[in-house]
């Protein structure tokens, strides 16, 4: 069964990160989502939105980022939309460095790697001058 989608709109400001995490947690708990869904989705959105806010806009204007989350038939489907520069994080982000020691290790690409690791499916499309990222979590049963 499908529930009404949770739609959250954010400004392109890092101070929005805590709010979206709270909203997703509250909604997910009220819908009885597995705690792993809430954790994995919140980490993934935090990382992807941080990248969009930090690197997605060549201007200093206010922009809207929209997150739509739907749970249906044991799946959690999240659409993340922004009107920043075209960027497919799943193919264009740097490969993370997972092995170097403290002195040499670089952090770039780690956030996108979290997204790929924590989601069952990720996809990217450029639609009408907007980035559309789809994130899917499936129940383990």
């Amino acid at each position: 069964m499908s529930s009404p989608a949770l739609v959250i709109t954010l400004k392109n400001d890092l101070s929005e990160l805590a709010r979206i995490a709270e909203e997703i947690k509250a909604h997910g708990e009220s819908r009885g989502w597995p705690s792993k869904w809430i954790l994995n989705l919140n980490i993934t959105l935090d990382e992807l939105i941080t990248n969009i806010v930090s690197y997605g806009y060549p201007d200093a204007d206010e922009h809207e980022i929209r997150v739509t989350v739907t749970d249906r038939d044991g799946e959690l489907v999240t659409l993340l939309e922004d009107d920043g520069v075209a960027f497919n994080p799943f193919t264009q982000a740097r490969e993370p460095d997972l092995h170097a020691g403290v002195a040499e290790r670089r952090i770039g690409g780690l956030g996108v790697y979290f997204a790929k690791t924590l989601m069952d499916h990720t996809a990217y499309e450029r639609v009408a001058d907007c980035n559309h990222i789809t994130l899917i979590l499936r129940s383990t049963e």
Partner: protein
Amino acid sequence: MEMEEEKSGSLSIVSLIGRIDGLVAPEVEQRLSSIIDRGDTHVVLDCGRMSYISSAGLRAVLASARKCQQAGGKLSLCALQPSCKTVLEISGFLTIISSYDTRDAAVSAES
């Protein structure tokens, strides 16, 4: 986000409290940097009250660990909550930075 600092012998124990995300990570890095600059190069980050850490937070932890190491010291972690541990495990951080289950274990191992 809040930070609290205590001394235990030559160890500095710094508690990171709340969310360590991209918004506050620069401040965390800066405050840890001033602690290390002042000569406290053996640091334990107590994560018992840290509810969340993102890759931006990991960057701050890594930069601080590097700074400690360059000054002949060491940075380690303790009391990670399961949700934060996930992020540290996936990133491979736990293979390069010592992590202890409790603050007591960290203090006795690192003193």
